[in-house]
Symmetry: none
Subunit: 198 residues, 4 copies
DNA sequence: GGCTAATCGAGACGGTACGTCCCGTCTTTAG
DNA sequence: CTAAAGACGGGACGTACCGTCTCGATTAGCC
């Protein structure tokens, strides 16, 4: 019978309060100052912690950001994806919400900072989908729509998710405000209705 | 007309050799060391130039990168977009080339560095399209295809370009190698053939 | 004709005010806190100077102390060596002054700190003689006394100086207060009068 | 009558093996790395002991050195003081041995390290005499010589010992190699023969 | 030709953050 | 109660760059 022997190490165990304080300080400073300007010393000071305690558990600044992102401390999402039965209308509404979010320069800067962090740490790139809901919410909804025959059977759900996230990232990097028709046009491209106009 | 308004100042004129040496040093160090690790002092040393000469003409590190990008010193492209008459096949071939490019970790790192620089400087984000050919090449080709009735009249060319660039960026940030079918699936999503299977 | 071409280096010249502020801060902190507890960061802060400015010109903490010692910022001396014609009486008086100086714990600590610094940096050891006057004052006086036939012709002046300094150092390290007869006994040993008692 | 007053505490008794390992590690690291560079963590690692075990029994780094010195782990002496009947010749020979010892830079560094430790801890200063034999050996010999009427009755034995030790310390701090005549000149100063030349 | 103004190299400077080392204390498991 | 293990807050280390500045040297236009 597989007893969990769990060979307990000697010495004081890791201080969970310190870990949380560090991640929270990371999130707070990341949001207010951006990824550049985010310093280990600043985090340590904000968290009331010695620098070495950070270096003991995280190999880099970007790893801190990745963990804070995973813990949901960086992006408050999810951005609700409505379910009215019309998959295209729902998607347009969801994208409109995202573009409104991006219109606030502070949010735009937040996304840019996340992208900068992702450029240093692949894990952040991988988690960006989840964090913005492009994977969890969108993929589930698309899968359901495919199952309900609202979309073609061979719809490449993964690629659509990447494209949505990609457009968001690219527009965030360009700091161009979205024009009102953008969400609809995007949906028209990504979920082209076969009965649509030639 | 066209009077030489350029009111000639007194004193020594700007040293073009220094300007070029600086941009070349920027490009070289950017390619080898990445955007983080790119330092003004390093560029000055590599270019055999005083720091002040850099600060005199560029406001920031990212401005240097932007100018080097514009001058075509960072990305050797363009990645040729073939023209066989079949817009979808051409696009698939072009994307395959880009994903092969991204499969080399050094190129992937280069793109990530560019994205990191873009996160600091919107101009770099705007130039990324051009640099990767997503605007110039792709948009022209799509416009031509629309004109030739190979694509719907209302095809949102701009959005497709953003989506293509976005997918490339997102996959670069995730460092995931592309599977062989990806280019075809992407083209199927973005340029859905209305005569395709339901 | 030997013109002093004095090949002038380019770049800003060394800031003499900063140099002095650093040495003065060194002296001040050395006197108040002791050699251990003397930190580069503390000196930089006290002098209102960047750390790098210190590291640019001095290789180590002990080099700072050595230069401060040479500049006469550490020991206020000289401890006057009286000249009444009686070399032995003069020496006794001088030593009494030195032992009174050592009786103050702060002065004792100062000497111990200097010895600690000398243990790291030979130059400090070499300058200790001068700083305490054991070389300049004492040696001159002894030489004069030899010339005046008040001491044997073969009196090893250098060794007497070392012995005097050595006794002071050893007693400082032991923190033993000097008993009143010590100076006289020392002089009796070092400048034994041939007509003295057997 | 020798009652065992040593009120036996509860719990595990002090681990003598650990104590010895710590002192031996102290001595080893002190000899190889010097007093600065001697760290509690280094000693603990070398001795295979927890830091707390050191802090439980010794108040400071210098106390460790003091105890290692007392246990004879730091200086291998004694440097034999020959006894040929001629006190002056014996002393010259003994001093020559000491200066030869000091001529090896590693020994010189060892003495400097001891002096640095003494600057922090008076006890080490007090033990230095014993350790170098300046007290035990020299003082006994001088006392015997006085008793045998080879030296004046009022010879200040203590001061001569301090002077010898002092000269050694000062020359060690100056890192000046001794010239061949130094021991003889020192003995001439310290044990001046009244029948000597004027 | 002298004057003024700008550029350029070199590099000193005050400052910030880096990542590492070690301090002395505390907390846990083991004996 | 001792001991090994090791986490912790703290402080200083020596280094790397930042962006600004002060130099001497050079190169133009202007009187």
């Amino acid at each position: 019978m597989a007893v969990e022997t769990h060979e307990r190490r000697r010495g004081a165990p890791r201080n969970e309060a310190a870990r949380l304080a560090i991640l929270r300080a990371t999130a707070s400073l990341f949001a207010t100052r951006g990824y550049d300007h985010l310093t280990i010393e600043g985090i340590a000071a904000e968290a009331g912690v010695a620098k070495q305690t950070i270096y003991r558990w995280w190999p880099s600044r970007s790893a801190l950001v990745a963990e804070a992102l995973i813990e949901g401390l960086l992006l408050t999402g999810p951005f609700d994806l409505p379910d009215t039965g019309d998959i295209r209308a729902d998607l347009v509404a969801w994208l409109e919400g995202l573009f409104v979010f991006l219109d606030d320069p502070r949010n735009n800067a937040l996304i840019c900072s996340l992208v900068a962090a992702a450029a240093e740490n692949p894990e952040i790139g991988l988690r960006l989908n989840d964090a913005l809901g492009a994977t969890t919410l969108l993929a589930e909804r698309l899968d359901a729509a495919v199952a309900a025959d609202d979309l073609w059977r061979d719809t490449p759900v993964q690629e659509i998710g990447d494209a949505v996230l990609g457009v968001l990232v690219v527009r965030a990097l360009q700091r161009t405000p979205a024009d009102p028709g953008l969400p609809a046009r995007l949906v028209r491209v990504l979920l082209r209705d076969p009965a649509g106009p030639r």
